[in-house]
């Protein structure tokens, strides 16, 4: 049995830890809940998530705690804590009998996989920004603003700034997000003329309408085409 856990920001240990054990679980925080002793799967992820699963009830855990958490283990009891403003959420798992306790290092590839299509699109579009339909050149990925990073910052043929936000599916929320980024970016007089492009595998019609009204260009891109695995459809015009 591993000793008491020590938490570092963002990384909680070497990989995911899976425990199959007979245990009882009590939760206190915004409400109180108690699971009587039974056999359960405990999943402690590298990112600080803690999930308590039964062998029923579908994909949803019986109890869970999202990061950032503090995980401590003492005397056969796992204690997971999370600050919620002035209060604290606390998940206390008393291990009566441990049947299995293993760790797996999921490696760096796992983090990319978690980010999924958006991250892949960002990588591909960073390598070939012209796929957005304009003669763009990349200035930086993850361009910082004071409310979060915009996915790509590019310059166009006329050397004007172009901020690109990338989504799997472009919704009205995505338009709002890019609008907020553009507001922040344009506060810099040197970037006052910065344009926005919202790129996605699928652009919702409402998002296209809203983007158009705000002068934001929407572009549909296909990941398989960007990867060169599929030839683009032949079209009469772009």
């Amino acid at each position: 049995m591993p000793g008491a856990g020590h938490v570092r920001k963002g990384r909680y240990g070497a990989g995911v830890r899976l425990i199959v054990a007979r245990c009882e679980v009590s939760y206190s925080g915004r409400l109180s809940a108690y699971l009587p002793e039974s056999t359960r799967l405990l999943m402690l992820k590298d990112d600080g998530s803690v999930l308590v699963h039964a062998d029923a009830g579908g994909y949803k855990p019986l109890n869970w705690m999202t990061p950032p958490t503090v995980v401590a283990e003492e005397g056969g009891t796992l204690v997971v804590r999370k600050r919620q403003g002035r209060t604290e959420d606390r998940l206390e798992i008393r291990l009566a009998e441990v049947y299995s306790d293993v760790r797996h290092d999921m490696g760096e590839a796992a983090s990319l996989e978690k980010d999924g299509v958006e991250r892949d699109l960002q990588l591909e579009l960073a390598a070939q920004p012209h796929a957005l339909g304009e003669d763009l050149r990349l200035v930086r990925r993850e361009w910082p603003t004071d409310i979060g990073p915009v996915d790509l910052m590019c310059r166009d043929f006329d050397d004007q700034w172009v901020a690109v936000e990338i989504k799997r599916i472009a919704t009205m929320d995505a338009v709002e997000q890019l609008t907020r980024y553009l507001e922040r970016i344009r506060l810099d007089p040197a970037m006052a003329g910065c344009r926005g492009i919202l790129a996605a595998q699928k652009v919702r019609p409402q998002a296209a309408t809203l983007a158009d009204a705000r002068g934001i260009l929407t572009v549909e891109v296909d990941l398989e085409t960007l990867r060169g695995r599929r030839e683009p459809d032949l079209t009469l015009f772009g």
Binding site: A208, T209, T218, E231, D233, L234, T235, L236, F237
Partner: protein
């Protein structure tokens, strides 16, 4: 745009003919919204005045209005759930129908013979105000020319709402002719039709769906009136008024898309080729292309879909030159040969990766279609 006035808080009561009610409801109900987010758009506005019962429905993109003769015992207006009223009216037992709005109860009572029902109503004040027809100057258009043109080009309009301009048909009225164009970026249909009568020169992008509705309502009508406002287009035919929004935006410059010259111009027996494309195209499933292989004097059409099957068929054609194989979306190719008229069709080709053109015996209709890249091309 001038708003229509709706009388509110009525004691509307009318007697109408069931058959006429059913017929008119079936027309306006096509504009009833199927989206449940705005409840009142699922309703039909009934308004009784001056010896008529008028019906109106709109989904905010398209509105349809018409009237029927009625014995009006109480004037007023009410909005009734559209689909339910249509379904109910069709099943009424007696030829005479009495519709009475009981505002204090929030219901409409529908009586026919021994049948009686009470339908809950929507708030009439929530119903969108439709454009006042009198404020729109309309002019008479050559109905047959317009309907024929719409039927030939409309299938090339896009159904993808993410590019609204492509869901419309560009309509341009010029001296003595009407030009319509539609494209979904994979194919383009353009038709120029001579028109009789005096029509002012104007251009508008009109939703293809609205023009398809116009063909429905105008096909049995004697005349067709058209009016264009800043953001609305109005059609009046057979006592039915259709209004639709104009689509804003820049329609692609279609003239630039049509090639000026071709490597091959093959004259094909239109009906024979169409039958072959239909037959062979059955095997073009899941976006698989239909292949056209031209060799000296012969065209072989084939299609293959993995785990489904393959088919091929040959027919003699007057092709001369190096063999050429080109792939198309089977539906788009079929649409092209269906859209042209005449016994023969000209199939104009440049290369397997360049657009092909299908034209009928007259050159007033052009169907331009992009090929699908074949593995070997």
């Amino acid at each position: 745009m001038t708003d229509t006035e709706i009388m509110v808080g009525s004691g509307m009561k009318v007697s109408v003919s069931r058959d006429e009610l059913v017929q008119k409801l079936s027309i306006v109900s096509r504009a009833v919204s199927t989206r449940t987010t705005v409840l009142v758009l699922g309703g039909i506005l009934l308004r009784a005045e001056n010896g008529e019962l008028s019906l109106a429905a709109t989904d905010m993109e398209l509105s349809l209005r018409t009237t029927l003769d009625a014995q009006v015992d109480g004037e007023g207006a009410v909005v009734v759930p559209g689909k339910m009223l249509v379904e109910l009216a069709r099943l009424l037992p007696d030829e005479d129908v009495v519709i009475e709005h009981r505002a204090e109860e929030g219901v409409v009572r529908v009586d026919s013979g021994a049948y009686s029902s009470r339908l809950h109503t929507y708030n009439v004040e929530d119903f969108p105000r439709l454009p006042e027809i009198g404020a729109v100057g309309t002019f008479s258009v050559d109905k047959d020319a317009l309907l024929d043109t719409v039927s030939r080009v409309s299938r090339s309009a896009s159904r993808d709402e993410s590019r609204p301009v492509l869901t419309g048909i560009l309509a341009r009225f010029e001296a003595g002719k009407l030009v319509m164009a539609a494209t979904d970026s994979y194919r383009l249909s353009v038709k120029e039709t001579p028109m009789e009568g005096e029509a002012p020169e104007l251009e508008a992008i009109i939703p293809a769906r609205a023009l398809t509705e116009v063909t429905r309502i105008a096909s049995a009508a004697d005349t067709l009136e058209l009016g264009v406002q800043e953001n609305q287009v109005v059609f009046v035919a057979g006592g039915v008024t259709l209004t639709t929004r104009r689509i804003e935006g820049q329609f692609p410059n279609y003239r630039q898309l049509i090639p000026e010259s071709y490597e091959q111009v093959v004259t094909l027996p239109r009906n024979d080729v169409l039958e072959v494309v239909r037959r062979v195209g059955v095997m073009a499933q899941r976006n698989s292309p239909i292949r056209l292989r031209f060799t000296e004097g012969e065209l072989t059409v084939s299609a293959q879909t993995q785990d489904v099957g393959e088919s091929h068929e040959s027919l003699p054609v007057g092709y001369v030159g190096e063999p050429m194989e080109i792939g198309f979306n089977a539906d788009y190719l079929r649409d092209g040969f269906e859209s042209v008229t005449g016994d023969d069709a000209e199939f104009k080709l440049i290369s397997p990766l360049r657009p092909a053109v299908i034209q009928g015996e007259s050159d007033d209709f052009t169907y331009l279609v992009m090929p699908i890249r074949l593995p070997s091309t």
